[in-house]
Symmetry: C2
Subunit: 583 residues, 2 copies
């Protein structure tokens, strides 16, 4: 039951749904089916052979702080070297800095396999990728030359230092300070917590990107700037130390550190007092990456659960023995087990489609400067992050349930998937913050034009297939769900102005409502692509399964939109009825 990358599903999205090789996005035309198949197969191989076997090891051993240095679990360093040596960390980095210049979409597809196989190990390169992007966008020519080649290759790794003990979401409360020095550098002092990959033994240097307040910037988030603070400057230790490695619920192989900066030397990255803006530049990619973790871990959990359900003999099918020679039938004959597995796979396949679509919008925005794509993906990001991680966790829990009591025992993989998946709902903006971002900001951004564009896409998808009766289960459900989403938007407009709480009390429900509409849109697109491929003589087993999985989602999951709308329309009254002291 080792993880196998679902290459056929990935290829279906890239070529049948997104049709990348005929896309006008620069660089996409090079990506023919043979090329992406080769990349994904190779990524799948390293995921299966190198990363997956270390997943349980990382969970059991965790990271330890020894004499001020963090030790990663046995085997992590060799696996990280293998990723690095295979060029997997630099797929979408610029060729001038040693990267392969591939689209972000390909990076994302590859990343899925690596995360499914070993979420914790892959975080080291994920954080590095974020630091690479920040310096690539905001760095001076000198900074780029100095850091990007090392970060692209992961010879050096990166971190993001935002959170402090007393502030996470509310960065205006930040206390870390940066004092300017005569030579143009800064002395950075403060304590940061929850720093993923804050220290470890797999790289020659660690480049910390640190948010801190420099003098003269004013109160709140306005005074915040972003600094590059390396662990080593040349061969000399900088004033950075690890206070603690956290003992967490999951992702034990990922070192989550308390970082102490004691007059550490740092250099401004980007403009003074514009640190928040610099962070926001990376936010879409960072949040899409976490949304990807949501379904990637669920995929791994699903594969393990499906394998168990096929093998484990328990009870008999109610419609007659399916395995009459054996002492019992496999679990998978039971309708409630089947329901659970269908929940899982229909979510994962829909979320993969949404994530790849989001990644292609980011490519379109970055490579073509397309503002509409940038606006649309900004609208989708809280959904990709919030909905996919909430659901990904739920699905990992359902996968665990398939194992019965064996799922609760740490000898089996199910518990780790649940514990690992849990963090994705929290970090990179807790999902309540995603919902607030969606309802409080993204819906009305640029006069609401991105959400209107989204509705237009949904409408086009619903009306374009009236002729093909095989599309009806998709378009009918999608139409109904999108009407419910529109009604929720109307409720916010009608009530949110006089009472903002009336909108915010429904924010998490709206995030989920829109998440289901996005899944419905993806499944409608996938169904169309599958039917086209089927009519052209494609792999009938694969394509029929795709259609059946989609029909399941439309029939069983899309009706959740009605529940979310009903909740939203009750407004804030019952939510805010009690005084804080009554809790």
């Amino acid at each position: 039951m080792t993880y196998r990358a679902p290459v056929q599903d990935m290829q279906f999205l890239l070529h049948q749904v997104l049709q990348i090789s005929t896309s006008d996005i620069p660089g996409y035309a090079d990506l023919d089916e043979g090329f992406t198949a080769a990349v994904l197969e190779e990524a799948g191989k390293i995921a299966t052979d190198v990363l997956a076997p270390l997943n349980a090891v990382g969970d059991a051993e965790g990271c330890t702080l020894e004499n001020g240095v963090v030790r990663t679990p046995k085997g992590f360093k060799a696996a990280f070297n293998a990723l690095r040596d295979g060029g997997w960390t630099a797929l979408d980095c610029a060729p001038e800095f040693g990267g392969q210049g591939l689209p972000y979409l390909i990076h994302s597809a590859v990343n899925e396999a690596l995360v499914s196989a070993n979420m914790a190990l892959n975080m080291y390169q994920g954080l590095t990728h974020g630091a690479y992007s920040a310096i690539a966008v905001h760095g001076s020519a000198e900074q780029k030359a100095m850091y990007l080649p090392k970060l692209a290759s992961c010879e050096w790794t990166g971190t993001m230092n935002l959170t402090e003990p007393h502030c996470g979401t509310d960065l205006g409360l930040m206390r870390t300070r940066a004092e300017p020095q005569a030579d143009g550098s800064y002395k950075v002092t403060g304590t940061k917590i929850f720093i993923s990959a804050g220290d470890h033994d797999m790289a020659d240097n660690i480049i910390h990107l640190v948010l801190a307040k420099a003098p003269g910037g004013g109160e709140g988030t306005k005074g915040i700037s972003l600094f590059i603070v390396p662990k080593l400057i040349g061969d000399a230790r900088n004033g950075v130390s690890v206070g603690k490695v956290e003992h967490k619920m999951g992702i034990h192989g990922s070192a989550t550190c308390v970082m102490n900066f004691d007059g550490a030397t740092g250099w401004l990255l980007g403009d003074l007092h514009k640190g928040m803006r610099a962070m926001f530049t990376m936010m879409n990619e960072a949040r899409l990456g976490v949304g990807l973790q949501g379904y990637a871990v669920a995929e791994a959990a699903y594969q393990a659960a499906a394998g168990y359900a096929r093998d484990r003999l328990q009870g008999r099918a109610i419609t007659g023995a399916a395995n009459p020679q054996g002492p019992a039938d496999p679990l998978i004959v039971h309708p409630d087990i089947r329901r659970s597995l269908m929940d899982q796979r229909s979510f994962v396949e829909g979320a993969r489609a949404l994530t790849y679509w989001g990644a292609s919008l980011i490519d379109r925005a970055h490579r073509m400067g397309d503002a509409a794509s940038d606006g649309l993906v900004s609208l989708l990001i809280p959904v990709i992050k919030g909905f996919q991680t909430d659901m990904g966790f739920q699905m990992a829990v359902q996968a665990q349930q398939v194992w019965g009591g064996h799922g609760y025992i740490e000898d089996n993989p199910a518990s780790q998937f649940v514990r690992d998946a849990r963090i994705a709902m929290i970090y990179e903006g807790a999902n309540g913050v995603q919902a607030l971002d969606l309802v409080g900001r993204k819906l009305t951004q640029d006069g609401g034009k991105h959400v209107l564009a989204f509705f237009d896409m949904v409408k086009a998808e619903c009306t374009g297939h009236d002729a093909d009766p095989r599309m009806e289960p998709f378009t009918k459900a999608l139409k109904a769900a999108s009407k419910q989403m529109q009604a929720a938007g109307m409720f916010f407009m009608a009530n949110g102005m006089k009472n903002p709480n009336a909108a915010l009390a429904g924010s998490s429900d709206f995030l989920h409502l829109m998440g289901h509409v996005c899944m419905g849109l993806m499944w409608t697109r996938m169904a169309r692509a599958a039917l086209t491929a089927l009519d052209a003589g494609g792999d009938a087993g694969f394509l029929q399964a795709k259609l059946a999985t989609g029909r399941y989602y439309m029939a069983r999951q899309l009706p959740a939109c009605g529940l979310h709308l009903a909740r939203i329309e009750t407004g804030a009254e019952t939510v805010m009825a009690l005084e804080p002291q009554a809790f």
Copy 2:
């Protein structure tokens, strides 16, 4: 943020809702408000002072196997002695065996506080209570005299040995054998797994109740008998040993053992080849106890989350600063945090009501031989177990989310509540099995008369209050939800006969649909009781909060019934569309 037993809520249920002191159930009339308040306050005290401080200790240390003996975490033994010495383990045991003869309802209310404070530690006495009941019902006079006083006092503890490596739910596959001996005893041989409290260092002896096949009983579950297999016979070790202590996701303080029986001496308990029936006698109480764990852990998680939300300063209320002197407002001002806390408390209070009602039905059945109550509680048990543990886990997850990143760190209590709560969905019949029991058996039991009685109760509750407009938010929502439950039942009747999968594919949704209807019924009863008490000059703050919490549940949670019905009505087609090999 230490756990405090919600004594006022418990008292409200016992006296305003269930009105126990005027009940006709034998023993209930002795339970006046002063008496139950004293019992619950004292139980709350031991929960807060003795058990709660050991909860994190038990999680961090776990149980270890040393030279064949299981060591419990530091402090567990002293706490267990305190429970024993205070008489807390024998509340509802028979006075002739050293118990206090109190109703099962009081045992349950007390148990809630103990489970909230320390679920793992309380399992040792929970299992013992099960063994006590089994011997009390099925034992010979000699067996009762020998075991019951020691089990009532927990000087000896008990276990239940059902599961084997290859069979959990499907006990017909059982391999453990019992060979009759000339002296009337048996030699029991086999391996049992997942045995809670299988071994430990807190009692003088451990009384294993073991299901095994004795010769002549035939195939499948028919040949199974129940045996008493003590760890020690006199001072001599019996042929019972611990193979392993499992490393689990949670309840680390509870020793989950692999038990090896190597020709161990055992004595038949109850009738030969009627072991399954003997187990079923205990099932309602055992499953109610697990359903209680579902909401009791959620209560503890809620208390911790509410405390954190009141204290942690982060962001500003969108309607204007609530804490203008401070650097930020407390988390609790944010509508999405408030929504989450309302979800949690409205579930917990409803589940407490359902559990206490179930316990009182068990008392009525046992103490008065009332078959209608026995039938009704048998119908409710899969809901109490399945719905309450599914929701209790979800609510513990929501509580953890309130903590943001701090909830993922094991220094804080949130993660343990989630990991502990997870097991309740699995053991004592996984929740999919509960759903199967409900739809496949309980709905139609005795010609469906128990579900009809349930509907009559709901109807009476809805129609009795038309005069009081304050009841409208309750009765209106309950009426709608119960119609949806009826529609689901009709769907099963119309489709389940020709295709049993059409019913079973909707079994988990039905379990949840009925769960919400039960919550709605409980909230309607609580609202009526609260209004009566309010009009009589009761504690307005408490009673208004109760009503507001109930209105939240009716407005925000009861609409889930519509979603479950929609799913049920799609039948089995999309669920069973794929062949097993397609997964």
